[in-house]
Amino acid sequence: MDNAVKAQPNFFEEKRGILSWIFTTDHKRIGLMYLYLVLAFFIVGVVLGLLIRMELIAPGETIMKAQSYNAVFTLHGVIMIFIVVIPSIPAAFGNILLPIHIGAEDVAFPRLNLLSWWLYVIGTVFALISLFTGQGPPDTGWTFYVPFSEFTTTNVSVAVFGVFILGFSSILTGLNFITTIHRLRAPGMNWTRIPLFAWSLYATAWIQVLATPILGITVLLVMAERILGVGLFDPAKGGDPILYQHLFWIYSHPAVYIMILPAMGVISEIIPVFARKHIFGYKMIAFSSLAIAFAGSLVWAHHMFTSGMSDTAVLIFSFLTFIVAIPSAIKVFNWTATLYKGSISVRTPLLYALSFIFLFSVGGLAGLLLGSAGTDVHLHDTYFVVSHFHYVIFGGTGFGLFAAMHFWFPKIYGRMYNERIANIAWLILFVGFNVLYFPLYVIGLQGMPRRYYDYLPQYTGGHFISTVGSWIVAVGLLIMFVNIFHGMRKGPKVGRNPWGGATLEWFVPSPPPLLNFEEEPEVTRSPYNYKGVEPDE
């Protein structure tokens, strides 16, 4: 490499000290701060999950009482959904990468970006306060269903206020990204040259902006109900609990696409790099992100088939639900077609990407069974649902996050982790995942209801295998994190482009300088054109 140009300090060196981080307006630092918090809370969530599995290892009370069990699964859900999964890829990797991806020096509103991060921290603090004050941690489940959430004496108000603030943070991030993509693309970066990860962030950002306010008003109403006793959702006072469910799912179903679309974007970046082939159907993949965002906003009531809606509504929502499966399937087919006849090099990020495709497909197909009103009546609120959403959220978003962590690691730190250990960790994680969640499909089909701390003896086998699986997953995660942490500090140094990627970030130094580019980039080629791009070393 030529070092003729005097190297600029990278964004780690630019300034030092904790204050230079928590008041930074640099998108890379903000992204990293999200990432570290997300991972810290992921670990907390995993520990809670292990406790849940521990309780369920055998019928009867094993390590906790029913009330603690309710609190633990509520916390697990609230932490995982609102604090970990929703901000995971868009807020962390979106912030780190989006501006570099499209050739910008930063996001459109750097100070607003910092505010989003602070709101995220404050929202999280509120969620934590709800644990230790009032009359005990919330025990409603992450859905805060009324009327129970109105009348339980636990600390629901504080927790939902935390969720409100987290929602605000998410909205501002989405707003920032939309503006960034519209306004700050480098010369030559027209809409058909935007990397697919940026496209997926664009679709996600629209959902964040358009769906999250509904969550905002919903949780505010829960607070109003609890504090003022208005009765909008309380049948005794003329209110209607089903309306709560509608409002809640109008946000929360689209929210599952906030969770999955960015992960799909990550996969769309990784597959072509390691197949060394132009991605198959670029436009279809970009378009299907928007189609998912749109169609996904119309299907919320498939969570309510059994709650007493009219039959017409059930029919319509069941039909619409099937439509969302189409753009998702388009993506899966395009990834597979990209791999076909590619010169594939099996590196850690690709392993995570492939397991994403597998696990997401398993979870998505189960979604079809849940989306058909007839089968859902049997499966609703059973462990089948638990398995479904862990396959799509953990197997999808979670593995997408791990894929992103391994793929962009050398770019962020300028170093490399130990690939052999990374692959071993991946294998343990992948095996453990299926041991943990697959049995839950089976006992779900057999009728094991979710959210119970005790169960009938016939489900013992499935629960036992699943609990053992949870330990395997924990071991895999431990090895993965230790390896990453070690690589961050001690890994061998790498150059700009260890994988041979063709998107803009691979042409800037690793780690990048404060304003990302040594000179203003000019885009003349597709991000998936590998002609003339060679991996260094």
């Binding site: 640099d26 020096e105 509103f109 100070r111 306010p213 009765g231 909008l232 003329g238």
Partner: protein, 199 residues
């Protein structure tokens, strides 16, 4: 080196997106209103009769006037007329205070009749009336909160104008504050007929 830059179009785009989110926030409430109106039409009618059209009407006029003044304050700053601009923003803020005072008296009268969320009196009335008043307090309350936020934003605008941070060349803060104020006005334009007139 700095990564903070000025982009007029970007700032406007961001503000419009934010306004969408505000509309959707209220949209959730309007949705509830529509559904409960369909469920309890005659109770809503009865509740609507009880509200004071005069106070509501005065407040509507006050907000419309304020919207006018915030709009011409932007024209004034574009022409470089700082003094006029400040004067118009002051009038806008004064209007917001009049609005809030009016609202205070309106609510106070209701409270003194024993009408407030979860009151004994409401429990004696029908379920539909309880829901009507519940929505009335929540929606006008949420709107009132937005009036306060808007006034605070305009207060900041005053501060920036005085310090010439908002000036002939760079007035996007005032413009966005004005947009926000128009939204607050617009939402009231919907709330007013829904609660005071059509029923």
């Amino acid at each position: 080196m700095s990564n903070i830059h000025k982009d007029y179009e970007g700032a406007k785009l961001g503000m419009w997106l934010f306004l969408f989110t505000e509309i959707l926030l209220f949209g959730g409430m309007f949705l509830l209103y529509a559904i409960y109106l369909a469920k309890f039409p005659s109770e809503f009618h009865k509740g609507g009769d009880e509200l004071d059209v005069v106070i509501g009407g005065v407040n509507t006029v006050v907000l419309l006037i304020s919207s006018f003044f915030v709009a011409i304050s932007i024209t004034a700053i574009r022409l470089g007329n700082k003094k006029a601009c400040l004067r118009y923003v002051y009038i806008t803020i004064a209007c917001s205070l009049i609005f809030l005072v009016n609202k205070f008296f309106e609510w106070k009268a209701k409270f003194s009749h024993g009408i407030y969320p979860d009151s004994e009196h409401l429990k004696e009335l029908s379920q539909g009336e309880n829901i009507f008043y519940g929505l009335y307090f929540l929606m006008t309350g949420l709107h009132g909160l937005h009036v306060i936020i808007g006034a605070v934003v305009l207060g900041f605008a005053v501060y920036f104008i005085q310090r010439d941070k908002i000036n002939k060349e760079d007035f996007v803060f005032l413009e966005n504050g004005g947009l926000y104020w128009h939204l607050v006005d617009l939402i009231w334009i919907f709330l007013f007929p829904l609660f005071y007139l059509v029923l």
